[in-house]
Amino acid sequence: MKGRFGIYGGQYVSEILMHALIELEEAFEKIYPSQEFQGEFQELLRNYAGRPTPLYYARNFSTLVGFKVYLKREDMVCGGSHKLNNALGQALLAKKMGKKRLITETAAGQHGLATVMAGNICELKTEIFMGVKDIQRQAANVKKMKLLGAKIKPVKIGAGVLKDAVSETLREWAACSRTTHYLMGSTVGPHPFPIIVATFQGVIGREIREQILEKEGRLPDAIVACGSGGSNALGAFKAFIEEENVRLYFVEGGGESLESENSAAAFQLGRPGVLHGSLMQVMQDPYGQIKPSKTRSAGLNYPGRGPEISYLCEIGRIKACYSFDNEVFDAVKVMARTEGLIPALETAHAIAYVLNHREEFSPGDIVVINYSGRGDKDMETILRYFYEA
């Protein structure tokens, strides 16, 4: 079924928005493959976003863990994470569709930044919805978005976090969908968003494939990626789904512990449910009320897993894993010391998994960690952890 991955996916939205989803789907199918779009988009990816990103052989880190580890350097994308791959694609699409304005939501600010960057390039106005708690926690990114010209809309409802901001953006979209594009930031939301985002992020895996073949003459044994919605992971995985010998690991935010209410591990603690327009793995109470997630990593702090990731984990193609907050901070330090790189807290989940589950890999293995972003945005949190604890 269109927009479905097994039971997951669909279009659970208000009737008001259906026209916009249908229009988007049609536009994507028509515009995306066009030479005009591809020309402009590839140009932007190359010269603005900085693609292809390197596939870096992390020699010192490899020595430490005992097998070959490559880092797919999405931290090198302009803005510091994979988010711009998708934001540029959708902004350009929105421009070609004749939209005048972009709206979206953001937690850590990474996707919000990517959106206003892409919006400026495409001369579209940008409005970013952000939970009041996240606004407080990410004050610097908020001002950065303002400096870039974005309008920030504080979201007071609920817990004032990402989940609430997504809801509020959907509401805003209902009021302006004729002129405004909702630039969804991950492989979540109603069809066709998960497919569009995964398509734009798919460049990651296509590059990995080409680069590892060039460097090693063979495919990797494993790819490890962090995620919540799943966009960087799917982006990295998609080119390898059919390759049975490539193990895929999806690492979600374990938070403080699985026992407490302090987690974002939806594959461990959730079950299928409908949130923000799509059926997916989601954390909820016994009655179907969505539960807030909790992790120190803002970008993983979402209670749902996108439909495609939900499906691929369900059928066992992807292994659903998690890392705990303290493991994540330690992984940041290890990466800093071995390779001089400070990863985003999200990314550090994938690194931590590799560090703490070495027994799952053999000495001859080639492992690719999708290094989804740099840690600049998390410096305060990281420094507080190490120097004030």
């Binding site: 279009q11 208000s14 009737e15 209902a174 302006c176 449910g273 179907g288």
Partner: protein, 277 residues
């Protein structure tokens, strides 16, 4: 009372219909019971009975807050359905449309949910995040059980999808009068009137218009434009929300607004029928 009967009766009285939307359990079950009874006694012809959901994406700030308060107070879907039973036991005759987001239904299991709703005395079910594309299973099940699945149309609905929706519609059509969420500011746009006309031209089942209606004149205008009735929700919640520690004190004001709305429904119908007021 069956929905058909209700609409026949209202029409027979020369009135437009008035559906009042309430989120149950806000701020407590007792109040909701009283509120629904008050509305029913003061001009609400149908009760849209909402089961609170944590993330009500089609609802504006007022109903979001209502959901939040109700959930905080501990209301559950089961308690909501109990609430309907209780209202029926206390003598409520008004048809009840059970409204909630799809995850609540999915979580209970579709059959289970519908059976319980039917047992409790519900006439129809409305799921605001279930467009026709996703509605097939529920359409079949409701038909089997003799329940209505209330479908929505909006100003953005294409002609093609409108036909598809109307072909499946049952009970009445919920026509979303504006692009936005519940509780938005009322805008009487030509598009709304055009949409009402379009829908009326294609179907015989009643058309109820909702979103943003808070005054007698709104009801009057919309029904005069061809609607069979209106839905009012946030406007009621707004009244008691400002006095949330003792909402009961506001019931009389709510009753007054309900009567006003009903009056608008009557006047609108008169205009539509070209009867001098």
């Amino acid at each position: 009372m069956k929905l058909e009967e209700l609409f026949n009766a209202v029409r027979a009285r020369g009135e437009g219909a008035h559906m009042a939307h309430v989120y149950y359990g806000d701020p407590c079950e007792d109040f909701s019971i009283k509120l629904i009874e008050t509305l029913a006694e003061n001009g609400a012809d149908i009760i849209e009975f909402g089961i609170p959901f944590s993330d009500p994406i089609a609802d504006g700030a007022i109903f979001q807050a209502a959901c939040e308060r109700a959930l905080k107070a501990g209301v559950t879907p089961a308690k909501c359905i109990e609430g309907i039973k209780k209202l029926r036991d206390r003598g409520l005759k008004t048809p009840v449309i059970l409204t909630t987001y799809f995850n609540i239904v999915y979580n209970m299991g579709l059959v289970n949910f519908l059976n319980k709703a039917k047992d409790a005395g519900v006439q129809g079910v409305l799921i605001p995040d279930l467009p026709i594309e996703e509605a097939q299973p529920l359409l079949e099940l409701t038909r089997k059980l003799g329940l209505h699945l209330i479908l929505q149309v909006a100003p953005t609905t294409s002609r093609e999808r409108l036909s598809r929706i109307l072909a499946e519609a049952s009970g009445f059509i919920y026509l979303i009068g504006l692009e936005g969420v519940t509780g938005s500011k009322f805008r009487s746009k030509k598009t709304t009137a055009t949409l009402i006309e379009k829908v009326k031209a294609e179907t015989n089942i009643p058309v109820m218009v909702g979103f943003g209606i808070s005054k007698r004149e709104h009801a009057e205008t919309l029904i005069a434009a061809g609607a069979d009735g209106v839905v009012v929700g946030s406007a009621y919640a707004r009244i008691y929300a400002v006095n949330i520690t003792n909402p009961f004190e506001r019931l009389s004001e709510i009753a007054r607004l309900a009567r006003e709305i009903k009056l608008g429904c009557i006047r609108g119908q008169k205009i539509k029928l070209n009867v001098s007021l």
